[in-house]
């Protein structure tokens, strides 16, 4: 058996964990998608309806939030000595707060989109199409809220008063947040083409 076992770069559990989480989330939504396809095939009660145009606005908001997050991540990563070693420059943190705000805006927008659909008389139980719409958006929303929680945690770790030692898992949080974009784009395509 070989004796050379030291990894080239020190592993980052947070990052690994996020990758695994991403895999799981993909699996869940894959299951739901297949459920949707099966349910739609030969169902007389499937009802097509127009997606609220607000969804597209929300999409832009979410993408923008990803942009600001990536921007501040780069800024903070650029600090000599790596994250956590120094007090990060204000702009970096500022970018994170903007991201946070945009994230909240997205969630609010999604809720408003629900209200619009409900106003059209499209509820969870109205038709399988609307049911899947609410399920998809709700589950995605929950994951986004989780991501917001992660960002708050990262911010708390980046505060100058935060205990040194382990670096704040900003990279991991950013990875997850970008994945939320990708997931949402996928869902948007699915919903736009099917319901």
């Amino acid at each position: 058996m070989s004796r050379t076992t030291t990894q080239p770069s020190p592993p980052q559990p947070a990052r690994t964990g996020i990758w695994i989480a991403i895999g799981t989330i993909c699996m869940s939504f894959a299951a739901l998608t297949s459920a949707m396809v099966v349910r739609q095939s030969g169902a007389p009660d499937w009802r097509h309806f127009q997606l609220p145009s607000l969804l597209y606005v929300n999409t832009v908001v979410l993408l923008a939030s990803s942009g600001t997050l990536e921007w501040s991540r780069r800024r903070i990563a650029a600090i000599p000595g790596g994250p956590g070693s120094l007090v990060p420059p204000l702009q970096g943190l500022f970018g994170l707060y903007i991201t946070l705000a945009l994230g909240l805006l997205f969630v609010t927008g999604q809720v408003i989109a629900w209200r619009q659909l409900a106003a059209q008389g499209l509820f969870l139980a109205t038709a399988p199409s609307s049911a899947f719409f609410y399920v998809f958006t709700a589950l995605h929303g929950v994951h986004v809220v989780g991501g917001l929680g992660g960002l708050v945690y990262v911010l708390s770790r980046l505060r100058p008063t935060a205990s040194p030692g382990r670096p704040a898992p900003l990279g991991a949080a950013a990875l997850y947040w970008h994945f939320m974009d990708g997931l949402w784009l996928y869902l948007l395509v699915i919903l736009a083409t099917r319901v």
Binding site: M27, A31, R39, P128
Partner: protein
């Protein structure tokens, strides 16, 4: 490396932080094991009640009338209460015993130690995972006490019976909803657990612990986590859809035009088969989630008592991976007769039969390991041998059920019950027993009584054969499962055999009291255990019994050898510990 493995949290102070809301993977592992112990005792009592009712349907069970006035007025179990007992037995055993004990329990305790880590990668997530599991357990048990009784649609909860609500009969109201909520929570918990297992295995291995040098138990837990990650990720949304059908009036699984209890159900277009597909896509891999840790534990323990390297370790890993992969291609073999396109039956039958190849090879590896060994017949060793025996017995009957043509006759009979109880129930339990007797000295710092252990083994080993082998005979005679009484003319002649099974089950169950007593006594006041009582090689035996809070007293071990170096001669004896720098030759 030290940076990432640096302990994330200081040793806790106070009872609550140390024993209840602990972040220590060892405490969490023990909490999982204790939860499983409570669940398995409950589940076993339920099976006693069922078996008693099947043997003597009209004999009142003293006291039961008081426990459940509606379910068993006067102590006589009603049909719906029988089905509720069956549902709860299945759910408790599959989810809260066979998944928590060998995987979450032992895995939590020993995976980090075996890779030389100080704790799991995410201790807080780890703790959350346990407490969510506990809540899921409590929610499930709560179903016993709701107005219209516990759910009765089996652990598979086939829609629409499970989806239409109380019109479908007693227990299909709140109880069934609680069931679905409980399983959803359980999925979340297991996903968090699997996340931790995988990350820890990938990132927190100590210096020198290459993948090739990981103990086989660690390998099994790692592969199981990957299976679980996918399986529970599918069951969770399925359960959410089921809950919505029940409480929100959606129609994912409920078609149009159902008349239940004289009422036309207000649903349309749903697909009952969709639930079956989603459930079994989880359900079959779940079987391997239950049994693969057993594979790992046996492969880990057998060489220790054979004093001989495990035969073909790389073959073993390859087989485990193959099984994990194949487990996702076979779910349809539960649905040969479900009304799905008959052409797909063959597609699902072939991989099902192919799975028997890696399974057979693994069995041969164990038997080949025993060849030419110097077996030390300790209790854990006996349970390893017993595991091989019952796994063979259970696996063989899979040959029949994997074939659609034979399934045409055997599907839904006791043959199936005998099959899965042997292969995933009893076998997994033997793995758990082996693990408990083997690791108790490390977990509790005390040795379990060998005498009691051996009594426990012999009674259990003979007992399970008396209970589950006859079920295959019943199945061949066409005895349908999930019946609360045998009123059909052709089933009446089988009641004597059912009585035999019941008596055997009561005795086998009673034999478990020996184990309970032994376990409790050991934890309270057993003889102090040395650090390495079994002369084993892996890292958990390089530290104290029980291990300190950070597992290795602040000095992460450095690994120089594989886990499999038995039968040679070194300073230590006929084995070389993974952490020992000594590079003695090995046979």
């Amino acid at each position: 490396m030290t940076q990432t493995t640096a302990h994330h949290h200081a040793p806790p102070q106070g009872f609550l932080r140390t024993h209840v809301f602990s972040l220590d993977h060892k405490v969490i592992g023990k909490q999982y094991l204790d939860l499983a112990l409570v669940a398995v005792c409950t589940g076993m009592v339920l099976s006693w009640l069922m078996r008693f009712h099947l043997a003597w349907p009209e004999t009142p069970i003293p006291g039961l009338g008081r426990v459940s006035p509606t379910g068993a007025a006067g102590g006589v179990i009603t049909p719906e209460y029988y089905l509720a007992l069956m549902t709860m037995h299945g759910t408790l055993m599959v989810f809260f015993v066979l998944t928590t004990a060998p995987f979450a329990g032992f895995g939590n305790y020993f995976l980090p130690i075996q890779v030389g880590a100080e704790d799991m990668a995410f201790p807080r997530i780890n703790m959350t995972s346990f407490w969510v599991t506990l809540v899921a357990f409590l929610v499930l048990v709560a179903a016993f006490f709701v107005g219209d009784g516990p759910p009765l649609s089996g652990w598979t909860a086939y829609a629409p019976l499970s989806a239409v609500g109380k019109d479908a009969g007693p227990g299909q109201g709140v109880g069934q909803t609680l069931w679905a909520v409980s399983i959803t929570l359980f999925c979340v918990a297991q996903l968090l657990g699997a996340l931790n297992f995988i990350t820890t295995t990938l990132d927190l291995r100590t210096k020198g612990m290459s993948l090739a040098r990981m103990p086989y138990s660690t390998w099994a837990w790692f592969i199981t986590s990957v299976i679980g990650l996918i399986a529970f990720a599918v069951l969770m949304p399925a359960c959410i859809l089921l809950i919505l059908d029940r409480v929100a009036g959606t129609s994912f699984f409920i078609p149009a035009g159902l008349v239940i209890s004289d009422r036309l159900q207000p649903h349309s277009g749903g697909s009952p088969l969709l639930w079956q597909h989603l459930f079994w896509f989880f359900g079959h891999p779940e079987v391997y989630i239950a049994i693969l840790p057993g594979f790992g534990i046996i492969s880990h323990i057998l060489p220790v008592f054979a004093r001989k390297p495990l035969l073909g370790p790389r073959v073993l890993i390859t087989c485990l991976v193959a099984i994990a992969f194949l487990s996702y291609t076979v779910w349809g073999h539960h649905m040969f007769l479900s009304g799905m396109n008959p052409f797909s039956a063959t597609l699902f039958s072939v991989p099902t039969l192919i799975i028997t190849i890696p399974a057979t090879i693994v069995t041969l590896l164990w038997i080949g390991t025993i060849y030419g060994a110097r077996l030390r017949f300790t209790t854990p060793a006996l349970f390893c041998l017993g595991f091989v025996s019952v796994f063979v017995s259970g696996g063989i009957s899979g040959f029949f059920l994997a074939q659609p043509s034979i399934d045409t006759y055997l599907h839904g009979t006791y043959f199936v019950v005998g099959h899965f109880h042997f292969v995933m129930g009893v076998a997994a339990m033997f793995g758990i027993f082996a693990g408990t007797y083997f690791w108790a000295p490390k977990m509790f710092g005390r040795l379990m009584s060998e005498t009691l252990g051996k009594w426990h083994f012999w009674l259990t080993f003979i007992g399970v054969y008396c209970v589950f082998m006859p079920m295959h005979y019943l199945g061949l005679a066409g005895n349908v499962r999930r019946y609360s009484a045998f009123t059909d003319d052709y089933l009446k002649p089988m009641i004597p055999l059912h009585r035999f099974i019941t008596i055997a089950a009561l005795f086998t169950g009673a034999a478990q009291l020996i184990f309970l007593f032994n376990l409790v006594r050991t934890r309270l006041r057993g003889p102090k255990a040395p650090d390495n009582p079994w002369e084993a090689t892996t890292l958990e035996w390089s530290t104290t019994s029980p291990p300190p809070f950070d597992n290795f007293g602040g000095r992460p071990p450095v690994v120089h050898h594989g886990p499999n170096e038995y039968g040679g001669n070194s300073a230590a004896g006929d084995y070389v510990m993974q952490a020992s720098p000594d590079s003695a030759g090995v046979a």
